[in-house]
Symmetry: C2
């Protein structure tokens, strides 16, 4: 019997060794791309173009230059720049040195950047020359506090001939080292080592933090490797894909597509300014096959004046969108122009998108409205997300798949963050009960697809009834005058709260009589929604956005409050 037991163990008793176990890290993909397609363009930016051999060489130079300045495991390298080649290279060079890359949102203010640099204890800052003064301002804020615990980081300035040379001179005068000079100080024969443990941190990214201090989301090599494969796999991206960087790389490391493109030996098209004109022209000139963008960017594409469009598209272009459900009207318009939109959902904490509205061929037969309704759902897990559910946040019991019962969306799996940096409280909350708590509310449909209904704080409670602000918005989007809309709670004498709609109008109706417009919108909506959903107040004008392009509902809620409560009335 003892012998028998031993036999049974045999089959599991084969240890790991150097030949059969390697830490998972997306850095392998760069080695492979440089070996397989050394002469294929890896990064194209304006008239500059770097092959995979060059990108590999430059990333190694960066790594070597960092290592020679004692930057290694545990150190954070901050990057403050738009989508330029240096940022792409930093996604390999920084982790090759063993360090952690922190791409900073360039739309943040100096105050917040100061917080980030201190919180992450950045040892090196790579800053685009255009953003040098913003960075300086942030440093000044830290200095002024005079606490002295923050050591001035090594500053590497990324020069760009498309920018005003003054800002570069200014940076150099203040002691920054120019990026190309910094690279030259490295050793092209530098040989990187995989992390000792694939759980080692690779990246840090701060959430936009509308209400509290930004939280630092830490990601690891294992997750970055798995997500890089998964985001390409789920989208059906094939070898040699040509990807347009409309999505900022500072947004969850470009949803891990930075690393996917190395696995695919694909080509990155970089843009300093993402405009409708720039997107259409990249599609026409560079053979773009894929790009990612928030619905607000898609909106600007569709509503661009004809002079900025280049149609018909040379081929089907795949577009991935997330951040908000694309309104039906937008989906139809995109599809008519030849874009194929994939709707995904995710958070910084999930390395970018982690659910996808997986399209079923049979849906092609449905009328456009039904298609759009199905398409607006957040869907099913990515292959790298092992668990996804909608639960009662108190009992953790899954809600029924009835498309009605609202619960919290929770996830578990290998594409969930390591945790928040230096924030044990937030970690405890985020990982309570063995699940990651997204903080988003949603329902589960009978076919298992999930749909985000609202952030818990975005629900409007009117006369004791919950009003889903996203659903009201989705219906308002159908009105032809509406370019963008956001609905929040406004205090209401009679009902406690009532919906207040903030609306950005399309160009051709701007300046029209607002009272007539709001009456027309009310009339348009009456047949489409319950009476208590109808916005009682309308405010016209551009919507305030976070640095990542999300509408700042907290700002709108404050504005709605300032308007004072809606007076009691007998309609």
């Amino acid at each position: 019997m003892a012998e028998e037991m031993e036999k049974e163990k045999d089959i599991d008793e084969l240890p790991k060794n150097a030949a059969n176990y390697q830490a998972l890290t997306p850095l392998w993909f760069l080695d492979r791309a440089a070996a397989v397609h050394p002469r294929r363009p890896a990064v194209v930016y304006g008239t500059a173009s770097y092959t995979w051999a060059e990108t590999n060489r430059r990333s190694r130079l960066l790594a070597s230059a960092l290592v020679s300045r004692s930057i290694g495991p545990g150190c954070t390298v901050a990057v403050i720049a738009p989508n330029v080649p240096a940022v792409y290279e930093a996604h390999f060079g920084v982790p090759m040195a063993g360090a952690v890359i922190n791409c900073v949102n360039i739309r943040l203010n100096a105050q917040t950047i100061a917080f980030l640099l201190e919180h992450s204890a950045a040892k090196v800052v790579m800053v685009d020359q255009e953003y040098f003064s913003l960075f300086e301002e942030a440093l000044q804020i830290i200095d002024n506090k005079g606490e002295g615990s923050f050591q001035r980081p090594l500053v590497v300035v990324i020069g760009d001939e498309n920018c005003d040379p003054k800002s570069l001179h200014d940076a150099l005068r203040k002691g920054a080292i120019e990026y190309e000079k910094f690279l030259e100080s490295g050793d092209p024969g530098f040989s990187w080592k995989p992390p000792k443990d694939e759980w080692q941190s690779i990246a840090l990214g701060y959430t936009s933090g509308t209400t509290t201090s930004p939280k630092g989301v830490v990601l690891h090599h294992r997750g970055a490797y798995l997500m890089a494969l998964s985001v390409a796999f789920v989208w059906g991206m094939n070898e040699g894909a040509i990807y347009l960087w409309s999505l900022p790389m500072f947004h969850c490391n470009g949803w891990c597509y930075t690393w996917s493109l190395a696995a695919l030996c694909g080509t990155s098209i970089c843009l300093r300014q993402v405009t409708a004109r720039a997107i259409y022209s990249a599609i026409a000139n560079f053979g773009v096959t894929h790009f990612c963008a928030a619905p607000v960017v898609l909106n600007s594409l569709i509503n661009a004046p004809p002079s900025e469009k280049i149609l018909p598209l040379p081929r089907t272009v795949h577009v991935m969108t997330a951040g908000a459900a694309p309104p039906p009207s937008l989906l139809s318009a995109m599809s008519e122009e030849g874009f194929r939109v994939t709707h995904t959902y995710g958070l910084t904490e999930t390395y970018g998108p982690c659910t996808v509205c997986a399209w079923k061929p049979e849906w092609d037969m449905l009328p456009p409205e039904a298609r759009a309704r199905l398409h607006a759902r957040q869907g099913v897990p990515y292959v790298s997300l092992e668990g996804l559910d909608v639960v009662n946040p108190k009992t953790m019991a899954p809600v029924p798949a009835d498309a009605k019962t609202i619960g919290e969306i929770v996830m578990r799996g290998n594409c969930i963050m390591k945790g928040y940096l230096k924030n044990p409280e937030a970690n405890k909350e985020a990982f309570a009960g063995g699940w990651y708590h997204s903080g988003d509310l949603g329902v589960k449909h009978p076919d298992g697809y999930i749909e985000v209904k609202d952030r818990s704080k975005d629900i409007i409670i009117s006369g004791g009834e919950n009003i889903n602000s996203l659903e009201v918005e989705s219906l308002l989007y159908e009105h032809p005058a509406v370019l963008e809309v956001s609905v929040v709670a406004r205090p209401d004498e009679q009902w406690g709260e009532s919906p207040c709609a903030f609306i950005a109008l399309k160009r051709d109706v701007e300046g029209k009589d607002e009272k007539a417009l709001s009456e027309d919108i009310i009339k348009f909506c009456r047949a489409k929604m319950p009476a208590y959903w109808l916005p009682k107040s309308f405010v016209f004008g551009p919507l305030p956005k976070t640095a990542t392009g999300k509408v700042q509902k907290n700002v709108l809620r404050a504005k709605a409050k300032e308007l004072g409560p809606v007076k009691r009335s007998r309609l």
Copy 2:
């Protein structure tokens, strides 16, 4: 300074928890496929078809039935069957129970199967009714040895209405339980658990072992997960692929495509008999997009009589081949019929293919012969293979990339086996120096692509010169009469050894005068190769093959020896 150190550690000190870490296992893919595409066919076999929901249910029933009979971690479940749905289900059901699946090559003889069953200590044997008598014979051999250490396994017989009912009755009479009955004994609500450690064994597969006892290659959950993604990724297989099982699933678990198809929510078309007619008709009837096959199978496709072909193909069909370099003539013929051939290379020890001759668009412009020469190379690593090199087997120094210097092909990475079962000697040799030693000889081309030149024992040494038998074969294939050819060493009085060619002729030249034919072949070859490469001896007739379809060079070498040494002559 101490505080500083602590800060630096912060970013790595975020532990794993139930929400952010899950063992990698391909079993997740089945959960996902059943959730996302429950009604899509997962497995089609003749007129039978199972959806993903059904395949999920049946796999769980199997797992539950096994667990209720105390089958779990450390236990081996042997499967002796052609490509029928039960084998596909076993790839999920067996590891869901925590056990290890061992798919046995059905072309082995009873003696070898007896060795395998004893060596792996199989606790359960799932056997197709057609192979029951072979299995019984193997059991009898074990019994006759009378050592008594092997416990008679639980026998589950897979019934098939396409087979002679006698064999099923026979199995039931001898105490086997019918597969469908066995499933019925399981609990459809069975909930599987991921392995405690992703290094846990998932599969066992025996090498064909031409010279020594077969070696048991052990694979783990982590590798199976990574390879399942990698083999789909490298081939550009997209969601919903329709895959024809011409490759036996007992061959490295179908090169991990068993599990890939769940990740892709694709469809498996199963065949009991793989014939040219069956392949063409599956392509015509089921919309097959991909299949894998050894060059010998492709040969039989191309050389099939027109009555067995259904041309033109309804669409481009992707074919992956490995096991031997496809001869140029075969590649051209396949491409003319509309097949797109991808050439890969791998071993049981690497979970199936681990290098691919990645095609470059610029090669499309080359003349057919140059294309075929490039295509015949084994190429570059899969994304899941972290290291690949050709080295001097004594010094382990990489050979120069000169397309000439021969060395041993070595690999390292996450798709290298855990090791050989109960074979520490073989493991020591296989993993020497931190690399897996393939035992294959090859060169590295200036572009980094590797090319297999020969197994070390297949090299012919004539007058002190090495002759590469594969190259001689490749040139002989160009002769229009040659269907299949294998070249081995024959003792030679003057030169020590000289090449002896075993040739299977095409149908239309069978029975022609062999002397005239061999003279014609010599004449044909003289301009193409050095004189000392020219075969001195010719033997015509069908070639002996291993159970996996490889030509048995050891048998041919023995035959060549029996012919006696080539006499000294003055040509």
